[in-house]
Structures are given as structure tokens and as C-alpha cells.
Symmetry: C2
Subunit: 221 residues, 2 copies
DNA sequence: ATGCGATATATTGCATACTATAGTTTGTTG
DNA sequence: CAACAAACTATAGTATGCAATATATCGCAT
């Protein structure tokens, strides 16, 4: 039987997942402001589900650090501070640099090619001034490398950090810009390190690629 | 009114927290074996609470990577593989080395003294052959440094990794040993780096202190 | 005997009802 | 009027019941 090749899992999302995704999006984009109090009843009404999946979503958001629960009392959206930018980026840099080191030894030619394609796409987005697309492609590039390193813990932690970084940008910049040509070049430096299987160089290039935008953000704010 | 000085918060734990703690302990110590199927009804009975807090505990455990949920079907304890040891320790090394770097610049004299005290305690536990106490003191030492680095993301990730490492030791060794005199010396090397505020040296010493036991574990298995 | 379909069973997912608790208001007493 | 306490309100925490879904069982036809 001929089955569509690019068959996407129908994404039959549970109410809990829908609630989680929506609330997380609202927190990231600032619809739900830092410090804002969240009521189970209120959200259950506006999302059209009962309190149960909302509660479950809250608990997952708490683990992710997007809300704080004061037991028996309330749950609020966590605050964002300028000082977080260093904490977020330096942690991400440590993880991604380590992942790049490992990936340098595991990566296969077609995976390198995929990175080249992604970075070309990224460059187009930068040149044509599409900051949101650029940010997404940049994240994809990094995500791919972390995947190649084949370490689920790093994948999970780094996704969590990306979420906070996105929120940070929304809160303080109202836009996702920080992708520049420098970033494109740094990506190519990482790719070159992979091509010659130089783990130390990959580590350093990756670190650069995260520390530089951090410094720029710090100055911008 | 005279109130006890060392008054501990009464630890009025919710049913959810009790369930989470107990199930996590059972998974770490192997009471609940990798691959084992978990039934909400069964656990709710044995813990004397309803299914709701059990469900909530399951979801938190899933985020932590201790159980895997197959929606609508079942939830099982995740598997542990020998290859995980590298993934766990290399990630922890990256995080702690980065934390040590930051801590080297922030640390205060009394905090350094606290580390010296902890490491002395650790050395006593190693010498008197109390592996469990040694493991705990070792973890405290590392935890203190991560705290000094003042980065909640690193704290959270590293606690999560510690849990997995503990489980790994239980599953493959049935005991928590891997603390040696070498570890004590490495700790002192970290402390010396702090005393002279040498971030790079702290980074390297910390990395050593995690990579060495990883290699030893790899050989042991 | 095997493969398919229908029915039964087990288990999760969600909704609702109930309980406990923190915070607020109000009343009472010195 | 002030201070305390009791009742009231709002909200989170827990239990239970119902619905949806996946798996297993059984029967039937080929």
C-alpha cells in the first residue's frame, strides 16, 4: 500500500499537552507577564478544559522554571532579570561546546552536509533581514549538532535553556534579533573543525558562537 | 517566646511530593527495575493516596527521565545502559567545570573554608571506608561549588544528572563506591585554584575530578 | 488451523465533586 | 479604638467517577 512518505504523526495532542504548549507560548511571548498570577480556574475556562490538565501543565512549567508554585496559595509566572543572560548563555555554551567536542568524533559526512545546508539557509535569512527565521534556523543548527553528539541529557537541558533565552529576548527586546554575519562565519568555523575532526577547535568555535552574542546582548541592555 | 533555633520547616509534604520522592527512591535503588511497568492503581494503593497525585508524580518523573510514558497505554521505568556513563559524566563535567570557573571569581573566604571542611569530612569518610557517606559528602562538595556559581539552571541540571548517576551505580554496581584518595586530592586542587582565583585552573581541576571516576567506572564495568 | 472481526477487559485521560488551607473580613471584647 | 478571634471567601489539593482508547480474548468463517 502506498503510504505518504512524509507522514507526520497526526499530533493527536492530549489536553494537557495543548494546555502546556499554549501557556508556555504565552509566557515566552509575554502575553503572560513575569510575576503574573495564574489561576487554574481562569485558564481552564479560557482553554476549554477542566482544571486537571491545567494543573498538570503548571507542574511541568514549574519544572522548566517558567512558573513558581507557592503550595496551597498560588502559582505565578517567574521573573526575568538582566543578570540571567549570563547564566543562560554560559550554561548553554558549556553544554554546546561539550556536545561539539563529542560530535566532532561521531559526525558523518552527510551530517556535515546537512549543517552546511542549514547554515546557508541561516545566512540567507540574515542577509534578507528575517530575524525570526534567522533565529529559528540558528537554533536548528545548534540543535542538529547536539543531536549528533547523541546525548539526551544535553538535548533536554539545552532545549530548556533555549526557551528561557527566547523569553528573555521577548521581555527585553520585544524582538528576536541577534543573528549577524559573524554568527554565520562562526558556524562555518565549527563545520571546518568537524571536517578535520578537530574536537578542540569545534569546542572553541562553538563557545565563541555563544559568548559573542551574549556580550552583544549584555551591551544592548 | 523561646523557639528552637534549628527549627526545620515542618516539611508538610503534599501527597504528590511524597509519591514523587518514594517512587524516585524506588527507581534509584532498583526496587522498581528498569523496564518495569508502573500502574497508577497499584501505586496509589501501596502509597495510600488516590491516582491523582500518583499521575502527577509520574509526569514529573518523566521530565526527569526516570520513567517513559506511552500515552494512553502505559508508563515504564526507563532503561539504563552502560553507554550512559559517558553521557552523564561528560555532561556533568561540562556543567561543573563551567560552574567552577564562575565560582572562582565569586567565591568568598568563608565559602572556601566551608569547602575545606567538607573535603576534610570527605577524606575521613574515604579513609574510614564509608562509601555511602563518602558519596554524599562528595556530592555536597560539588553542590556547594555549583551554588557558589549562583546559577539556578546549572543547579537544577546537575541535580538531575546526580540522580541518574546514583541509579547507574545501583544498577551496575549494587553499591555507591568510587570515592578514592585521588578524589580528595583533586578537591584540594580545586580549592587551591579558588584561593588564587584562577578560573582556568579551577575549570581543569573540576574536569579532572569528574573524568577520572568516569574512566574508572568504564573500566570496572 | 489461521486470519479476521467483534466483544470484553484493563488502563489511562479528563471532568467533577469534595476537602484542606491560606487570606480577608467582620464582629466582639477589653 | 485596638487587638484578637471567629467565620467567610477564594484557591489549591485530593478523591472519585466517567469516557476514551488500547490490548487481549473469543468466536466464526475460510
Amino acid at each position: 500500500m502506498p503510504v505518504p512518505q512524509n507522514f507526520k504523526a497526526p499530533a493527536r495532542m492530549s489536553a494537557k499537552e495543548k494546555a502546556f504548549d499554549q501557556i508556555q507560548r504565552w509566557i515566552i511571548d509575554g502575553t503572560l507577564q513575569p510575576g503574573e498570577k495564574l489561576l487554574e480556574s481562569e485558564l481552564s475556562e479560557s482553554l476549554g478544559v477542566s482544571r486537571t490538565p491545567i494543573r498538570e501543565a503548571f507542574q511541568l512549567l514549574e519544572v522548566k522554571g517558567l512558573v513558581a508554585t507557592y503550595p496551597g496559595k498560588e502559582t505565578k509566572v517567574t521573573e526575568v532579570e538582566k543578570g540571567d543572560i549570563f547564566k543562560l548563555y554560559s550554561t548553554l555554551a558549556a553544554l554546546h561546546a561539550s556536545a561539539a567536542e563529542v560530535a566532532a568524533e561521531l559526525i558523518r559526512p552527510e551530517q556535515i552536509q546537512h549543517l552546511i545546508d542549514l547554515n546557508t539557509e541561516f545566512e540567507r535569512a540574515v542577509i534578507s533581514d528575517q530575524p525570526y527565521l534567522a533565529m529559528e534556523t540558528d537554533e536548528e543548527f545548534h540543535h542538529a549538532i547536539v543531536e549528533f553528539a547523541n546525548n539526551p541529557y544535553t538535548v533536554s537541558f539545552s532545549e530548556s535553556l533555549q526557551v528561557h533565552i527566547r523569553r528573555f529576548k521577548y521581555v527585553f527586546l520585544q524582538q528576536p534579533i541577534d543573528s549577524t554575519q559573524a554568527s554565520v562565519d562562526e558556524h562555518f568555523a565549527i563545520i571546518r573543525a568537524f571536517q578535520i575532526r578537530d574536537a578542540a577547535a569545534a569546542h572553541e568555535a562553538m563557545k565563541q558562537n555563544l559568548i559573542r552574542p551574549m556580550r552583544e546582548l549584555e551591551h544592548l541592555i
